[in-house]
Amino acid sequence: MPEFPPAYIVGVAETPLGKVTYHSELSMVAVAAQEALGEAGLQFRDIDALFTNYMGEEGSVQLGEYLGIRPRYAESSDMGGASFEFFVHHALLAVATGRCNVALIGYASRQRSRRSRPRAVSGNSGTLAAQFEAPYGIHFPIGHYALSAARYMHECGAKQEHLARVAVAARKWAALNPKAWIREPLTVDEVLSSPMICDPLHKLDCCLVTDGGGVVIVAGRERARDARKRPVRVLGAGESHTQWHVAQCPDLTVTPGVVSGRDAFGMAGIKPSDVHVFEPYDNFTHAVLLYLEDLGFCKKGEAGELVASGCLDPGGRLPSMTSGGGLSYNHPGALGILLLIEAVRQLRGEAGDRQVPNAEIAVAHGTGGLAFSTASTVVLARE
């Protein structure tokens, strides 16, 4: 066990998911916060740290006002969809140094209902992206990830079937999750015959666009005693980021997960073979192959064969995307919060039909930005 005052996830809840027309983003977070606080045996007034992203300018200020929280530790850093793994890392350190006792990490999006996803890089005149990316018609972010996937396949020998197999694994899990957006069975052939968006990424190599979000409550040992459900220990965490503009990435076959995974596993004192449940940020199918290699589950270039062997499936050696993931369960624009929630439910043993037997250690691995700009890894354990 690591040598620092422990922090625990003491409550989790999804916001309403799918297509949400009867809530605002703020009210979605509020209802999820009440549910998560109920699990934690805590109230809004107990919260002294607040973390959010994508909730408007000065997001934590807007969310704090709405929830009636005046934190003494606050953050609304934009680390893309991985922000929430970054926030668990920061909450862990803030709890360990006594800067806070109870942290609320929350987020909600109605990107599907609002049809708010842009296709082009922000055309704000004068930015580097407006000058050097937008004129070339790069789709945001599928173009960035397609360039990564193409290079990865060229260099590491992965095949389209390997990528498609990731989507099939996610769908197998989604079939077991009543909250998943799509639950119908899926085959490799169906992925490969779905429309090509940006080669080599087909429509079904890309994650969903749905409404959703969630809340995660992190607390120190003292407040974790109030929890009505079994607290889950944060064993370790790590983070890093690399490029924003895709041309600035020196190697599109490697992600900053190399650094975040090394630090998180090192802090937790575990190795990849200790992991029972893996919740990777499956924004695109090839992304999962890169994470498996970067986090040390296999060597560079071996992930395709590993996935083809059924490793990620229900009953596989490394059960992954157990909610159905961003590919089949929900992708609210920033999936990272839902990875944490699913990991916690697996460790508590409350995942129903999709429960991984005897799950004791789970890893949530987030990514964000454009072609793996950011990465953060969180190691969680049942105590």
Binding site: R119, A120, S125, G126, T127, L128, Q131, F132, E133, A134, P135, Y136, G137, I138, H139, F140, G143, A146, L147, S148, A150, R151, H154, P195, M196, I197, C198, D199, P200, L201, H245, V246, A247, Q248, L252
Partner: protein, 136 residues
């Protein structure tokens, strides 16, 4: 009548003060990159220091305009009004070192192909550097 010179590209919002020389050169179909006068390494986009040796001694030099495709995709859905899908979106490694996001004008192109710069004219904006494959 004003004796002021016409507004620069950065004053029009189409460049920034550090990229103005690059876009000015594009108007003459010249592809510029930065070179460090201390260590000789090339870099792009421009910065006031060298990412390699950290010296603050950068100069603009004209690139040969030749390079190799590092990665490439075919965009098959509409993204911007100016480009009708499908079209090639690629990363090209210039022979001097810097990597550029660009379009490839060709019937076919793949990773590893040698390419040479070409220019796409634009309404009210400097010509855009794109690339065409060399004869195989």
């Amino acid at each position: 009548v004003s004796d002021r010179s016409p507004p620069s590209l950065s004053e029009q919002g189409n460049a920034d003060p550090t990229t103005e020389p690059f876009w000015q050169a594009c108007m003459e179909h010249r592809l510029l990159v930065q070179r460090c006068t201390s260590c000789g390494k090339h870099q792009f986009y421009p910065r006031p220091f060298c990412l390699s040796c950290e010296a603050a001694a950068m100069e603009w030099v004209e690139a040969a305009g030749t390079g190799t495709i590092y990665s490439i995709t075919t965009v098959r859905i509409p993204v911007v009004d100016e480009l009708k899908p499908p079209y090639f979106l690629a990363l090209v490694d210039l022979d001097e070192g810097p990597r550029l996001l660009t379009n490839i004008e060709a019937d076919s192109a793949r990773i590893g192909d040698r390419v040479t710069v070409a220019w796409r004219s634009r309404n009210g904006l400097p010509p855009l550097p794109i690339f065409r494959p060399d004869q195989r």
